[in-house]
């Protein structure tokens, strides 16, 4: 039963991964990518790593891919032009792809079949989440913090490269707005007919 589920999910992942590249419309590519992410989460559930599966969905499908979709929808990608560029690189690209595939093939051949590695999704703990938490904040504290630092740097970088202070932009000052008194704003005048203010 799990094996059948594995093959079904695996086939969907592979198929959608191919369609990510093959789809003509970039938005469809992203949608296939999302499909691939989602089904990969299913694969993780199959091996019992449900915490990782949920994180994959939350982070990649729920946040990263949304932003991808956002960008791709707003960019007006010209496909004819892209396809022309593609032809220039098709030979070298195919060569590199072949080499990488050959590498994988050679390595796979060197391992040979029948490697009976077993997977333990939650070593030394009841649940997946506990197992990850137990090492993430102890053994791998350095790496965890470094990864955080890298994200901070990326944030600083994004701000540096894109934020432009516009000196003439009008901004709302809430404190000023709510602190306004009646006498600052309203003046009562007795206007007689025919005289104006």
């Amino acid at each position: 039963m799990p094996l059948i589920a594995f093959y079904i999910l695996g086939a969907i992942v592979a198929l959608s991964a191919v369609l990510v590249v093959a789809a003509r419309n970039p938005v469809h590519s992203v949608l296939w990518l999302i499909c691939a992410f989602f089904t990969s989460a299913g694969l993780l559930v199959l091996i019992g790593a449900e915490f990782l599966a949920m994180l994959l969905v939350v982070v990649y499908v729920g946040a990263v891919a949304v932003l991808f979709l956002f960008v791709v929808m707003m960019l007006d990608v010209d496909f004819v032009e892209l396809k022309q560029g593609f032809q220039n690189y098709v030979v070298s690209g195919a060569a590199i792809a072949l080499i990488l595939f050959a590498e994988i093939g050679v390595i796979a051949a060197s391992i040979g079949p029948g490697s009976n590695a077993t997977m333990d999704p939650s070593p030394g703990a009841d649940t997946n989440a506990e197992a990850i938490g137990a090492v993430l904040y102890t053994d791998y504290l350095l790496l965890f913090q470094l990864a955080g630092l890298i994200l901070l740097i990326a944030m600083i970088g994004a701000i540096v490269l894109t934020l432009r202070g516009r000196p003439r932009a009008k901004r709302q000052n809430i404190a000023e707005q709510t602190g306004r008194k009646r006498k600052d704003a309203v003046e009562l005048r007795d206007v007689r007919p025919g005289e104006g203010v």
């Binding site: 938005v27 949920m54 969905v57 939350v58 949304v66 932003l67 929808m73 989440a129 709302q172």
Partner: protein, 361 residues
């Protein structure tokens, strides 16, 4: 051979049982939502001093069913420039995702389709996908207003998800489990154990924090489900109806239904995380010889009452509060809710590590 048949029978039997459970659950849920919608409109009407729906059935109770028939019987119009597949996929996706989330919601002791260990994460993950229905619908319509609405809603939902996530983390820290049943059971005994009102002596220092978290959760839930006052994606005065402009007939029904299911889900989630789930506000003495299904039914009734209460508040807010401006919405999410909930996570984890009895680090 015999074992094979047995095994197969077990599997198919299990699947059959699950299908029956799901069917029963959906029936109750969708019927409930039909009446909740009626309530929504009645509340809005009452605030505006109108009568609201009162023609179909007694007190207009059957109005939702009439609407349902009307939607289903109309013609499906697909705009000429639309991306047909995605256009039709979007409403299906949004309804399906909204419904699928209910699989892990425990409505009474043991009354849950799948008692997942990472239940709360599952809800968080699936509800974060809800944005796709909207953004795909907005894009596939190939029209300006829907597209703008879709983009607005994507930005809005992603923003508020962050603070909802942190609020959920505070609850997880207190309970020490991601299982929704555990979360509910941690609040047993009386309303002073509910996470919104932690009034027991040892947890009193957390009361202001968790109450603030409850408020943030509730407001974020409004924003996450695109309800007024955060209904900018469909702001009728600017975007006509946002991402649903081009939808009609059954696809529109599905989009609408998905939205309502998500709202009800948020009510249920608020109940589970902060209002003690199916537990009564005061300890109720239960006779030991009472059949289990009866106590469960009682618990279910309490749960439903709480959900209806939250839905009532949702409806009241819609009627009473004017719509936010987009920059105000973003400021509220990123500059107020996010820092507050981050601080709360730190405070709660400090409490759990240093003060909570029985949690020696």
């Amino acid at each position: 051979m015999e074992t094979l048949i047995q095994w197969g029978g077990g599997v198919w039997g299990g699947i059959g049982l699950a299908v029956l459970q799901i069917a029963a659950f959906l029936l109750v849920l969708l019927l409930g939502i039909a009446f909740l919608l009626w309530m929504d409109r009645k509340v809005l009407a009452a605030v505006m001093m109108r009568k609201g729906p009162n023609v179909v059935g007694p007190f207009g109770l059957l109005q939702s069913f009439a609407d349902f028939l009307k939607f289903v019987l109309k013609e499906i119009v697909i705009p000429a420039g639309a991306n047909k597949t995605v256009f039709l996929l979007a409403p299906i996706l949004s309804t399906t995702l909204a419904l699928v989330t209910w699989a892990v919601i425990p409505v009474a002791p043991g009354w849950v389709i799948s008692d997942l260990n990472v239940g709360i994460l599952y809800i968080f993950a699936i509800s974060s996908l809800g944005v796709y229905g909207i953004i795909m619908g907005g894009w596939a319509s190939n029209s300006k207003y829907p597209f703008l609405g879709g983009l607005r809603s994507a930005a809005q939902m992603v923003s508020y998800e962050v603070s909802i996530g942190f609020v959920i983390v505070t609850v997880l820290l207190l309970v020490g489990s991601m299982n929704l049943t555990d979360i509910v059971n941690a609040q047993a005994g009386g309303f002073w154990n509910w996470h919104a009102f932690l009034l027991t002596p040892e947890k009193l220092p957390l009361f202001p924090v968790m109450f603030a978290m409850f408020v943030i959760f509730f407001v974020s839930a409004l924003a996450e489900t695109n309800r007024p006052p955060f209904d900018l994606p469909e702001a009728e005065s600017e975007l006509v109806a946002g991402y649903q402009v081009e939808y009609s007939s059954t696809p529109f029904l599905l989009l609408f239904l998905g939205e309502q299911v998500a709202i009800t889900l948020m009510c249920a989630l608020a109940t589970i995380l902060f209002f003690g789930g199916w537990h009564a506000p005061f300890p109720v003495p239960i006779a030991a010889d009472l059949p289990a299904w009866l106590t469960s039914l009682g618990s279910f009734a309490i749960f439903v009452v709480k959900v209806v209460f939250f839905f009532f508040i949702f409806a009241l807010v819609r009627a009473l509060v004017p719509r936010y401006r987009y920059d105000q919405l973003m400021r509220l999410g990123w500059k107020i809710f996010l820092p507050t909930s981050l601080v709360a996570v730190i405070v709660v984890s400090a409490y759990v590590v240093f003060l909570q009895p029985g949690m020696e680090a």
